[in-house]
Amino acid sequence: MIEGLLELARRRANGGADALERRVERTALAFEAGRLKAAGVTEEAGANLRVLHRGRVGIAGTTNVGVGDVGAQHAVPLLERALASAELGEEIALAFPSTAKLPRVDTYVARAADAPLDRLIQIGQFLLQRLAREGCQVNVAIEREVGETRVANTAGAEGTYRSTGVAVSADIWRIAGDDVLAIGEVVEGSDLPSDDALEAVVQSITTRLDHALRIVTPPEGALPVVFTPAGLSAVLLPVTQGLSGKAVLQGISPLANRVGERVFDAGVSLTDDPLAPGRTASRPLDDECVPSRVTCLVQGGGVQRFIYDLETAARAKTESTGHGQRGIFGKPVPAYTNLIVGEARVPGPGSRVPGELGGGLLREVNDGLLVDDLIGVGQGNVIGGAFSHPVALAYRIERGEISGRVKDAAVAGNVYELLKRIGGLGNDARWIGARFAPSLLLEGVAVARR
């Protein structure tokens, strides 16, 4: 594996080195318009090397690693490129972590890794059958990934883990005249989805589709808005960007210098949990050999910590929080693993059957919106907290109930203002990719229609 590479690097780079090797085998099925259309496999391997030479950092990556090993004929050119990169690099007081005990995390499920193609096809057929509707097109995609990651450094730290990931996504398209409606759902985890989880996908899509058939006029003004676990992205993105140690170092985070201060409503808590069982973002150590641990970012509305990788930590004169993430070609960057919104308890591996839409928060709303998907999240000047997005999928709430789908409406506001006082968290917390969150009710969101 990468031992040979590091042994070579030890002799040439006087400050040491670390390396990551990843091998992935992916199986993908695409069901289009109600039938299986394509099956594919991907076999990928690559190595990323970082050297520290004369106080300067250099990086190089390659997919030219041969079969089974980073052979010497591949290792030497990779090291040369990393050293050339280090010649240009700036001086950083980077310290590679030494040996440490790693936490136990379940990242590999044998029955997911070994599931034959027919088993995966069966999952897709089940969803197609259950979602079939007159006048609608159903697409399903299934992806199963089996990976092995090895990361090690010249200070003696190392870790190897196998992982599995299964993502099943389904979407239903309904086009009536010029009205295009698309509703999707994804279930993801290290194991094959349970029957309950698949049933939850069906229920989630059909509930939202049924409510969407009736189109109503959007309300207007400063109104209460319920953001579903999926619709929450626009609200969370500025906060997670602001909690990155990198943004703090760049001087662009509105949360810099506010650790310990209560910035948000007492109901707002955010935790990063790389140890959550059964999740594909979980791992025993990060991509820089730092052991994984739970990081409390915001507790009871107060800012607790920012996330750091080795380099940003060195620059900020603090410790890495174990958030180094690296691909085959670039250098490590700080990145979240599993983000838990609300109470910092470790949720179970499966997706629960979704409760009612809005998680019980609709009752509080006399006239407002339920937002499930927005257009353009991530565009523009995100980190400042201001957002303005047309809705992709949203419903009007009247007298505590959903009255129909709204089109041609936009929501706007400033996340830092809106999160000072929240209307409540729903009882419908669930996983959406690497995020576990409930619905969230915010008061005074600007709703405009056109």
């Binding site: 318009a33 039938r35 299986l36 259309k37 394509a38 099956a39 594919g40 496999v41 991907t42 076999e43 990928e44 391997a45 250099g58 990086i59 990556g61 390659t62 997919t63 030219n64 041969g66 079969v67 490129r81 050339a84 990169s85 010649e87 240009l88 700036e90 193609l117 097109q137 398209w173 309904r174 086009i175 009536a176 005249g177 010029d178 009205d179 295009v180 409606l181 698309a182 400063a222 760049q250 001087g251 662009i252 509105p254 070609f329 250098k331 257009i375 353009g376 991530g378 565009q379 523009g380 201001a386 303005s388 047309p390 992709a392 089109k407 041609d408 936009a410 706007a412 600007a446 056109r450």
Partner: protein, 459 residues
């Protein structure tokens, strides 16, 4: 390599087999603020096999170990046979091409040291930092790539190409107290080292704009006559209309086919839209797509009427239309899907001044921070804007977000100037998990009679 591909194809049991192999060298140097963020040189290589059998679906295999080529051909065939289909997949005929295309590399980037690349981008980054002490952060990136590319299929196509690419991008962040603004520009070319020299003025302009935006008011939300500059008009036509003209969106869906029926009116007679993968010297330009189909200029809207769409061999056969050379993959890691190349709004008549002359109160929206379309709704964030008052361009405004319904908005384009230009931007297009695909957009100044501008939402 050609011999290996030919031998692997001969060993395939599938009715149709195609193989792509890529070997690429790339380097990137990024400056952030006064620091070097990273300088890296990378090597990437791999292949993609796609197999199709009668009565079956597609089987595909992607791999980084080229020693596995024969095994992967067998694997793709096996997967194809595991996908049983009642309605078969057909491929429209394309005469198999044999070609060897090595373009002018315009200063092969592989012969330039990483240190020289660093000096270049460091100088450009310095231009941004020198503009004002209000510039608190910058991001300047130089990136290049040379890919050697082979394509072969069991019908006899054999292609070898060298695909060069070089991009520069600059972001400047200006800050005063709690106000943070940014400027952003990029250049992307299918050329080499010589083409990215002498670009200092562009980087200065980015930082100057970020500083000026600190004093600019947020545009007041509402409905206005809006003039798009060629950059935003290009992004608009790509995002809002281009994706709907990709045939994989409609070919399996009767309702979508109806919505996109050829002959339907989409705009006023001033509106002409097309996609030209054969245009010379652009980022979206290639001699062949990733199914070996020659690229071409495809008319999509002519005088306001929908006249065409973009196809792969599969979608063309399914709709009894002709392949247009738009099946593209971002790399050997992905299958080819229907994509745009260089998408444009055709030239109109007159000047920019003619467009704004009779506007009493309107918005001139310029540049693009980003855009997203969801079905018939879109949202674009302009980099900046100016108010138009009594036929004149006046004060700078910020947070200009253009949102609307595609059909309404296309129909409200009432005037197109005669100042067409291609926007040689970096970045790229994303679809189906494949990002960034090099594309280009082009347009003249375009006027929309009435469009919703988000921004300051009245409480």
């Amino acid at each position: 390599m050609i011999d290996r591909l030919t031998a692997a194809l001969q060993g395939s049991r599938a009715d149709f087999t195609e193989i792509r192999v890529e070997q690429s060298w790339s380097s990137a140097v990024t400056m952030r603020g006064r620091r070097l963020e990273a300088a890296t040189a990378s090597e990437d290589q791999g292949g993609f096999v796609r197999a199709l059998n009668r009565g079956s679906g597609w089987g595909t295999a992607s791999f980084t170990s080229l020693d596995q080529l024969e095994a992967m051909v067998a694997r793709a065939d096996e997967l194809s046979r595991a996908v049983r289909l009642e309605r078969p997949i057909r491929l429209a005929d394309v005469p198999p091409q044999q070609a060897d295309r090595v373009p002018d590399l315009d200063g092969d980037v592989r012969g330039v040291s990483l240190a020289e690349k660093k000096r270049l981008i460091e100088a450009y980054n310095g231009e941004m930092l020198a503009v004002s002490d209000r510039i608190v952060d910058t991001l300047a990136t130089y990136r290049d790539e040379v890919s050697e590319y082979w394509y072969a299929n069991s019908e006899g196509a054999l292609l070898h190409e060298v695909r060069p690419e070089v991009t520069l991008s600059g972001t400047a962040i200006a800050r005063r107290d709690g106000t943070i603004e940014k400027g952003l520009e990029s250049i992307g070319l299918r050329r080499g080292w010589h083409s990215v020299q002498g670009k200092a003025a562009g980087f200065r302009a980015v930082a100057e704009r970020a500083v000026r935006l600190l004093d600019a008011p947020t545009v007041r939300g509402g409905t206005y006559p809006v003039v798009l500059d060629p950059e935003l008009a290009g992004v608009f036509i790509h995002e809002a209309f281009g994706h709907l003209s990709e045939a994989d969106f409609v070919y399996e869906n009767p309702q979508a086919r109806e919505m996109m029926t050829l002959g339907r009116r989409f705009g006023k007679p001033v509106l002409n839209v097309g996609d030209n993968g054969a245009a010379s010297g652009l980022r979206g330009t290639l001699p062949f797509d990733d199914e070996g189909t020659p690229t071409q200029d495809t008319a999509l809207i002519r005088e306001g009427i929908l006249v065409g769409r973009l196809h792969s061999r599969e979608t063309a056969a399914a709709m009894s239309e002709r392949p247009t050379g738009n099946a593209r993959a971002i790399s050997f890691r992905h299958p080819p899907i229907v994509r745009m190349t260089n998408t444009y709004i055709g030239n109109g008549r007159g000047t920019f001044a003619d467009l704004i002359r009779d506007i009493k109160l309107g918005v001139y929206a310029c540049g693009a921070f980003g855009g997203q379309t969801m079905l018939e709704n879109f949202s674009f964030t302009a980099a900046y804007g100016h108010m138009i008052r009594d036929g004149q361009v006046t004060e700078l405004v910020k947070d200009v977000v253009l949102a609307g319904n595609l059909f309404q908005t296309l129909d409200r384009i009432d005037h197109i100037a005669g100042d067409f230009r291609w926007n040689q931007m970096g970045g790229g297009c994303g679809k189906g998990g494949q990002y960034p695909l090099p594309v280009t957009e082009g347009a003249p100044h375009v006027r929309i009679e009435a469009a919703l501008i988000g921004g300051d939402v009245p409480a």
